[in-house]
Symmetry: C2
Subunit: 385 residues, 2 copies
């Protein structure tokens, strides 16, 4: 019923500011406090009178608050999950009030390392405190209070967004009616930590990085390499075989040089170049570090089920068969720990060849899971369960 699925149209990002007083600042896991803090967010749909239909979408490493719609009529492309959010779409804006905010540490409107530190009048850069996934969620909780939402109908997201969803369940269990962690993990694997390390070394090794204090010359080479590397981990071997194979670029012959000769090389270079236009190198450092430190089991002395013992709301956990960055086994681990706590968990491993990127691409099957899950939650709330 594609004709029912239209766009949310033109949307306007909003800013919420807090932490102007010292007492109101955000206390971070690292022991420091951050303030003032700006949270850039967008909303789609209407909050109902009971304030019971609010859904928080949480974005991944390179995402931002702009999930759906356009910022201007001539915007060349819509938000990053536009196929999922809108009237008649899985996050149905005719039923739900959808919110998404840019994470702290980010570079798309919320306070991050490129923001000006009011105490110095200069950019934080590497003086910005190292943040965690829990810190991101703590900032979102402030936004939640500001919006007058007592309890989210659901919080959900893919990849790092899924980490935040899990963190919500732990940090603020009374504020979530349900949780949807997608293509994610309860702790970043050593392989993930290793890829992040290499990406950061590439950024910090770029002479234009200049200890984080870049201004005119940007560490685009280093950031581009980090992004190209990331991209490889988001695809599967199968999807790369299908998408590129060993196909050569236009000239269709081995060039016997070091310029891009294979289509996959072209693709990576394009992705790397496009990314440096929209993303900041220092934010990449901080956000990837936050992912490294994510390990829910820490809160149960190494026992994930113990860490999740305060959780009782329903979960929808989704993984993708060919995702090797956040493999299905990581989701199954979460599911087992939740079931140990008698949590009502719907788990689905979607068969897909798209690798980790599947959470952005398998919108039909993922969408119908989410649509059903949200509808059931709304029904429960309306039934007063």
């Amino acid at each position: 019923m594609a004709f029912l699925k239209s766009s949310v149209g033109i949307v306007e990002p909003k800013d919420f500011r807090f932490g102007l007083d010292e007492a109101d600042r955000l206390e971070l896991d690292c022991g420091r406090a951050l303030g003032p803090v700006t949270i850039r967010y967008e909303t789609y749909g209407q909050l109902n009178a009971r304030r019971s239909n609010a859904v928080l979408i949480l974005h991944a490493l390179s995402g931002n608050a702009h999930v759906a719609g356009l910022h201007a009529p001539d915007d060349p492309k819509p938000g990053w999950w536009d196929e999922m959010v809108g009237p008649g779409k899985p996050f149905d804006t005719e039923k739900y009030f959808i919110v998404c905010s840019n994470v702290i540490g980010g570079c798309s409107g919320s306070t991050g390392p490129r923001s000006v530190d009011p105490s110095t009048g200069e950019r934080y850069n590497m003086a910005f405190p190292v943040i965690t996934i829990a810190d991101m969620v703590k900032a979102q909780q402030r936004l939640t209070l500001h919006l007058g939402i007592e309890k989210w109908l659901s919080v959900g997201g893919g990849s790092m967004g899924g980490m935040q969803a899990l963190e919500w369940a732990l940090s603020f269990p009374a504020m979530v009616n349900s949780v949807m962690p997608i293509a994610t993990t309860s702790s970043l694997s050593p392989q993930g930590i290793a890829f992040n390390w290499v990406g950061r070394q590439s950024i910090m090794g770029d002479p234009h990085w200049a200890g984080g204090d870049y201004e005119e010359l940007l560490p685009d080479k280093g950031l581009g390499i980090a992004r190209m590397l990331g991209h490889i981990t988001y695809l599967s071997e199968e999807s790369m075989d299908r998408k590129f194979g060993r196909r050569l670029r236009a000239q269709d012959r081995y060039s016997y040089d070091f310029d891009k000769n294979f289509e996959v090389e072209s693709y990576l270079e394009y992705q790397g170049q496009r990314f440096v236009d929209i993303f900041d190198a220092n934010s990449y450092l901080y956000i990837s570090r936050a992912m490294d430190y994510f390990n829910l089991a820490d809160r149960g002395d190494g026992d994930l089920a113990a860490a999740l013992s305060g959780v009782s709301c329903p979960f929808l956990v989704v993984s993708f068969s060919s995702d090797w960055l956040f493999p299905p086994e990581h989701s199954r681990r979460v599911v087992r720990a939740l079931r140990n706590n008698n949590v009502d968990v719907t788990y689905c491993e979607i068969k897909s060849s798209y690798g980790h990127d599947a959470f952005l691409l398998e919108v039909d099957v993922l969408g119908s899971l989410i649509s059903d899950f949200l509808a059931r939650r709304l029904q429960e709330v309306e039934d007063g369960k």
Copy 2:
């Protein structure tokens, strides 16, 4: 019977030079010719009177001619496959005459990009011609003639060594009695091409690379990043989980900074730093590019079985279950194509958690396969089959 397995002792590398005359130069796939060419090689054991017991070992990207033994009594460590080559070992030097040569394009004695171009009196650097796996093998064939060997009892190696083994079977079928491709592929996957691309961009993006003409300042940062990235692809998620998990370094707490905090970060940094002391950045470019261009099926117009139609000698093909860089399916593809040509193939997928590195680590089970395979080949030759 570990007591029987002793070392080959002190070995001396030798150099073979050819291509001093224009007519004798090595004609390369790229259309250019290379000469003079030096091939650095080592031999272990004795060539028998019938010259029927010679085995050629082919090394991987970062390998060299020094497979076994020590170069000096105080050498801190032996050759790269010392557990496999020696008296009583799988490549038994009491039975076989073992040869290994450094590939052209390399940086361990054979002619490569850092060699002096006699026509200019300066290092080739990026003026060095782009070489292929077939070019490497062609140079090895010259060494073979020089050594007076008409037919190898076997040629074999792991990873890029396995590519060369396969190439031997295609390029010089009359000169091999058997072939042992291990943890390899008949064509580098787009994922492999992509990782190589990122590694090369990292080297070529290092300002010390200087278009390849580095002298005092070396592109160690770029090369180190390429190596760290490579290392991740050589391990499996399972082996990283076991070897490092999320363990922290000595201080055993989150440091909330960007220095190495996890053990896996320390390990990668150490591997990267160690590598730049022993390997050359330009060689890394050339050798990784040779791997990109490797695709046996090209020689059968895309049909691997057709490409292998001239092959008839026995094969031992070995893969490792957790190798995701050269997955078992790639070996099975080779096996199917060989069997289509009625080739006698022994195929073994070794269950191992070590990933691609398994070909260097699973010496017991791999060793017994090789030992048996070589013994049967020697028996056949002695029986005059």
